[in-house]
Subunit: 791 residues, 2 copies
């Protein structure tokens, strides 16, 4: 979209200067407002036309049956899917009895702006009705970070060329008709009419609807109320089982403005009664009223000012990436800020893609960013995982294992994958959870969290690995039958990434148990068990191919036949839509970073030479049919000195949604890719890592970026880093003292002093190639010769 | 059932001397009458009660949708399932207005007998009605081998203790209500009411019904007519869309007999019109009438006399096995005799298990038996495969391969597996087809068949292997990503069995093309392509584990963790119902013969020492959760000299259906296991193999069998072999001259001379063990110490 002429590149907004029906659903995803609890897609106020109507509450789902042509042991017989709740965004307009519809009459102007500092979506339209009357419609919409139940809309309409009778119909709509799902399995199953009406009633200028879901047993209450300003106003309210409607009629002279503020409050519960929820949404509405529109707007601004002060990333020299990283941070905040005890879905609250499920990428992509910019959200997310521990234990039992086996995809914690090579074998999700615990503890040093949530999660995942793996005849600890991150392989032996991550999991479990031995009886942990983890970590098998001098992605991987890239036409990507699994799985072809992901997250397990050889080897095989790949490739490219290539991958990850590179932004944004922009910049070029010893940085800059600034939360301090071509500046903005390592040199910052260190200029990295046609777009003009040939 | 007190052990019948509702469905399967075209389960004449009503026409199916929780490329979106056609078996009886129902009144006698020489099912009942009237009902049923469209029933009723008004209602019933399917995926999907009425009409004492299927577009015509003998008879006929009924009423004095003969004719077509089929079934009925009941019975007897003369197997000393092998041969004949252009399903026409699909076991188990006892049926079965070649070519294209990829399971030739590790990766089905061609050509030497059907099948399967495998860096030909016969592994590299069978496939394709070079242009075969097959055969990779001195089932198999048999309780078998695939697939645990199957069918690829070591190694791992395993273990056990153990496995395969060892005989008989009885006897103890050089035998006898006699078709001759404890006698019963090899000694038989050779007494075989609790039942008293310890 950013290449679409309607979209402008600017530092603090995403703006569409006209309306293009061809990218309507994508635009709705990009313009989503959310706070981690409530999400409103950027649907047009008047409801029609839409790409995909979407109002979501995190954790609200319906059960859907999961059919199998040939069922087998351990297959889940039902899953969970996000549902569109009662839509409170809708405000319809009639001008002299002509419904305002952008497909009728003439649009003289249409602009939408997502303001990343204000946290609002603004829209301005000038429309001439088929009858010839021109009006200006100006709306501002917000989903409040400070009052998480509340969405609000200010709606203003002004006739521009003569008087007009104007009617606003502000609605609550339940069971909105949905477009049919695509055949693409990545799109969610649609459940038509998931809401059963329980109550509906009018109170003054407001309406409240309460619904329940059929199978999942949830209750959802949505209420709206209004303030109206304007001449000759007449207001009515009606309610029906699936519709609440407040009608505002007015006769306006040319230039007169009719203004309405709509407050919508939302609540859901699996336990609370209808009367309790009735009161809850009414109470929330009262609080919103009390703040008023201006109050909500200013609270929103304050909240975001504080966020940007910590989190902002400055990218001088590349306005597209500058815009993209702020857009990304904003959406990461929107997905997580007020999630508070529910999952962070892979698409946040921006669409129904992947059924609204959370995957491992929450822990491996989103939480690492939050750990730097909003650590409390990491703790919340891990508390959610912890709350699902019993289900994970049960699943482990079902799979014949001990400890906890967290689900591959889920909303509430139960396994919802209908593809067992993922749902029963992609155990690395457990290592991702352990890694998020480790990362959070290194950020925050929260002892109570470590003693409870952290310890439980590390112990139960360590137990899983211990029961999953075994000591072979040579006393090496092996883990067979797993699916690693690369989805073009499955059910392999000794996936390098999994084994290294499991080793970290064991080590962390040993350490945390040793620090809190009093908790051992609670979990029945014995010294013998801990000894077993230590031995497994010490004896962990790390496959290595001596003949080729690289780490195989899994045992035997490098012996496989190499995919025939030359015979693969461009239109056959993504490969999974054109080739059967059996063929993908048996060959050397990599969907997404796997060994490269291992080098990103367990960098100390590799020598510098191994990193170069591995990176070169896997670049030749990696097709990036997953949006989870480019950022990891960027980080490792930067690590091995291939800065131009790292910059190319940064560009790709930065634009996955803004340019709809995967053709499914319509279903929602790729939260992990959005996180990947930050990761590529800060972990890649900044070289920032949380190691056991503390925070380390190795600042570099690629050609094309003149200055890179970012914030880091560490050990209770808030650090700002600014990387220039020659110098890197460190400064504490909160906290008194922080020790870090700049390119291996220990550095202790105190108070507000600024420390200046030389920016690292790594030796030129290797020349690497990608499969024909799968090279990333070059970002720096003429960079091709440096990091990779262009064909 | 044979252990059930109702069932008797006798040489030429299966007899149930009372009726047990607990094994009703199993009894129906065992008492099925069929001829390869038409199958009638052994349902009670009066229809109620039933376990599973079943009337089948081979090739008649309905399409059923195949759902997936997560669809992917290449998954079939619909499958095929056998349907119950219009049931012509039903004859209801009223005695003084009291319906004859075995659940009411008193059964004074109930006997059913499947007569294996006469080819009929007889039933005799003495029943006292609730009103106190006793009648004898005697019925005889046949499905004609000589008139394949015809089933016939002779029904006789006689009051025994006073006069009775008797009514017979002879019916055609379409869309019979079916019991609900079980959750077990091996049971078929039920399609309720698959038949749509097209025509129904009465003609004299007969009725005809024509139906069509909804999706598969087939037309099915069934007609009945009757002959009635008795006093005071009144006959009426009615027809309705799903019911034809002929009512025969009579007043009988005590001792009077009312006799009715019912003829039912059947036809189906995907192309013929209703008028054409109307005439077809009427014509078939006329022919049956002309033969009359006695004529049909005597034709049946003649057909079977000829069959038994060639095929009979004599097992002195073990009456159970004697009965079982004749029962098995009879059912193999029933499944195949008149199949003529359609598939031989894995359950024949005895039930709806596995959806009525044909699998590889048709070629690997059933056809090898038919090749010895009824070679024409092998040619028919391979002509059916040949008729599906275009679909198999299309499937190969879809999988990115060349040649033909035959389906894992099917009725008409399209892939119907909803589990891709089988449906897209169990390529060994193609080798099985090639092997059946090779076996048939060695039996029959039919040059025209070889030039056409045989050559096409061998060439297209060779092409498949060539495109599936590749030459590695050491120029070895490897085949990766396949699922072999053992279903507790999947997606492996270099499955030993598959590689050896593919090598045979290549070699045979080269030979047949060299013999018929004129056919090369038809298929576009070039000398270069043939050279490629030769090289692939020469360079075929045969994995071998030097460290352990055994052949791994696939690359790396012997390095896997061994399944923890000690921790597996008996009730957790079959394992697939209690453990997830990921766990089974990654460990050393074998569902069914795989390396052992390779040693059975490609014996010359192994030294005698390797056979002993391999057999011992895999016995420890093989749990026999598949009915396809015991017969192969019997054959290889005999080969390595473990005769007692071979006898144990013979016993197991012999009793799988007769004792319902797998608890699913209710869904139909296990045709491959039935074939396995013969294979264990003839290939196992007889040592009979068709090698390239000719027929070889190595006759032995286990303790417990005093004499083993069997027939062999070879090179246009018919040979009888009789193995006694000391001497083995060979004699030609047809043909002038045959050369064979007795334990390596060439022997040429001429005319009717009897050649006597010493029976082989192999040295004692190895002591082998099975997983705890999975030992076969000992067949020879006290044999445990010889072939295997008992724990």
């Amino acid at each position: 979209m950013i290449t679409h002429p309607a979209f402008t590149v600017e530092p603090w907004s995403l703006r569409a200067t006209s309306l293009d029906f061809g990218v309507l659903a994508q635009t709705e995803s990009l313009f989503t407002l959310a706070n981690g609890h409530l999400g409103w897609r950027g649907n047009l106020d008047e409801g029609d036309p839409h790409g995909l109507p979407g109002s979501y509450l995190a954790g609200v789902y319906e059960v859907r049956p999961m059919p199998y042509a040939e069922p087998a042991y351990g297959y889940p017989d039902s899953g969970e899917t996000i549902i569109n709740i009662t839509d409170g965004k809708v405000v319809r307009l009639l001008v002299d009895d002509e419904p305002f519809d952008v497909r009728r009459g003439d649009i003289l102007k249409h602009e939408q702006e997502l303001d990343l500092r204000a946290g609002v979506l603004r829209r301005t339209v000038e429309w001439r009705s088929p009858a010839g009357r021109t009006v200006r419609v100006a709306t501002t919409r917000l989903v409040s970070f400070t009052q998480r139940a509340i969405g609000a809309i200010r709606y203003e309409v002004t006739p521009l060329d003569g008087p007009a009778r104007v009617v606003l119909q502000s609605e609550l709509v339940a069971n909105e008709p949905m477009p049919k799902p695509e055949a693409d399995p990545r799109a969610a199953a649609v459940l038509s009419e998931p809401l059963n009406s329980e109550e509906n009633f009018v109170h003054g200028t407001g309406v409240q609807l309460i619904h329940t879901t059929g199978e999942s047993g949830l209750r959802i209450a949505v209420a709206m109320d209004h303030e109206v300003f304007g001449p000759h106003v007449h207001v009515e309210a009606d309610s029906y089982p699936d519709l609440g409607r407040v009608t505002v009629a007015s006769k306006l002279a040319s230039g007169d403005c009719l203004r309405m503020v709509k407050y919508v409050s939302h609540a859901w519960s699996a336990r609370r009664t209808a009367p309790a929820m009735r009161d809850q949404v009414a109470g929330e509405l009262t609080l919103a009223h009390e703040s008023g529109w201006d109050g909500l707007v200013s609270e929103q601004r304050e909240y975001l000012d504080a966020f940007w002060e910590r989190a902002d990333v400055i990218v001088d020299g590349d306005p597209e990436v500058q815009q993209a990283v702020r857009f990304a941070l904003f959406h990461i905040l929107q997905a997580s800020a007020r999630a508070e005890g529910v999952a962070i879905a892979s698409k946040g609250l921006t669409g129904r893609g992947y059924d609204g499920h959370a995957f491992w990428d929450s822990e491996m992509f989103v939480l690492p960013v939050l750990a730097f910019v909003a650590p409390h959200a990491v703790a919340d997310a891990l508390r959610w995982r912890h709350s699902t521990l019993d289900r994970a234990r049960e699943r482990a039992r079902q799979l014949g294992l001990t400890g906890a086996a967290f689900p591959w995809r889920t909303i509430t914690g139960r396994e919802c994958s209908g593809y067992w090579p993922a749902g029963a074998a992609a155990f690395h999700v457990n290592a991702a959870i352990a890694r998020a615990v480790i990362g959070y503890l290194r950020t925050d040093g929260n002892t109570e969290f470590e003693r409870t949530i952290g310890l439980d999660l590390l112990v139960e995942t360590a137990r899983l690995w211990r029961s999953l793996g075994y000591f072979d005849e040579d006393a090496r600890f092996r883990i067979d039958g797993v699916t690693g991150p690369d989805e073009y392989s499955a059910l392999v032996r000794n996936n390098l990434y999994t084994n290294l991550m499991a080793r970290e999991n064991f080590t962390a479990a040993v350490a945390v148990v040793e620090r809190h031995p009093d908790r051992m009886p609670d979990l029945g942990v014995t010294d013998e068990e801990v000894g077993g983890w230590r031995t497994a970590a010490d004896r962990m098998y790390v496959p290595y191919d001596e003949r080729r001098g690289v780490h195989p992605q899994s045992s035997g991987f490098t012996d496989r036949q190499v995919w025939d890239f030359a015979a693969t036409p461009p239109e056959h990507y993504p490969l999974l839509l054109h080739y059967p699994y059996f063929d993908l799985y048996r060959k050397q072809v990599v969907k997404q970073a796997d060994v490269v992901l291992a080098m990103q997250w367990v960098p100390d397990a590799f020598t510098a030479e191994q990193k170069v050889r591995n990176f070169s080897y896997y670049e030749r095989l990696t097709v990036r049919d997953s949006s989870l790949s480019a950022s990891s490739q960027a980080v490792v490219a930067a690590d091995v000195g291939a800065l131009d290539l790292a910059y190319d991958y940064l560009g790709e990850t930065a634009l996955i949604d803004l340019r709809d590179l995967e053709h499914n932004t319509s279903d929602g944004l790729h939260l992990a890719s959005l996180a990947g922009i930050w990761i590529a910049l800060v972990q890649g070029f900044g070289g920032a890592r949380r190691r056991r010893a503390g925070l380390t940085l190795r600042p570099t800059l690629p050609r094309g970026i003149d200055r890179l600034g970012f914030g880091v939360a560490a050990a209770g301090c808030q650090l700002r880093v600014e990387i220039g071509p020659d110098e890197t500046r460190y400064r504490l903005v909160e906290g008194d003292e922080l020790t870090l390592y700049h390119d291996g040199t220990e550095l202790t910052l105190r108070g507000s002093e600024v420390r200046v260190m030389p920016t690292v200029r790594p030796p030129a990295g290797p020349i690497v190639t990608q499969p024909a046609g799968r090279e990333p777009a070059r970002r720096y003009p003429g960079s091709a010769g440096r990091s990779a040939p262009s064909d």
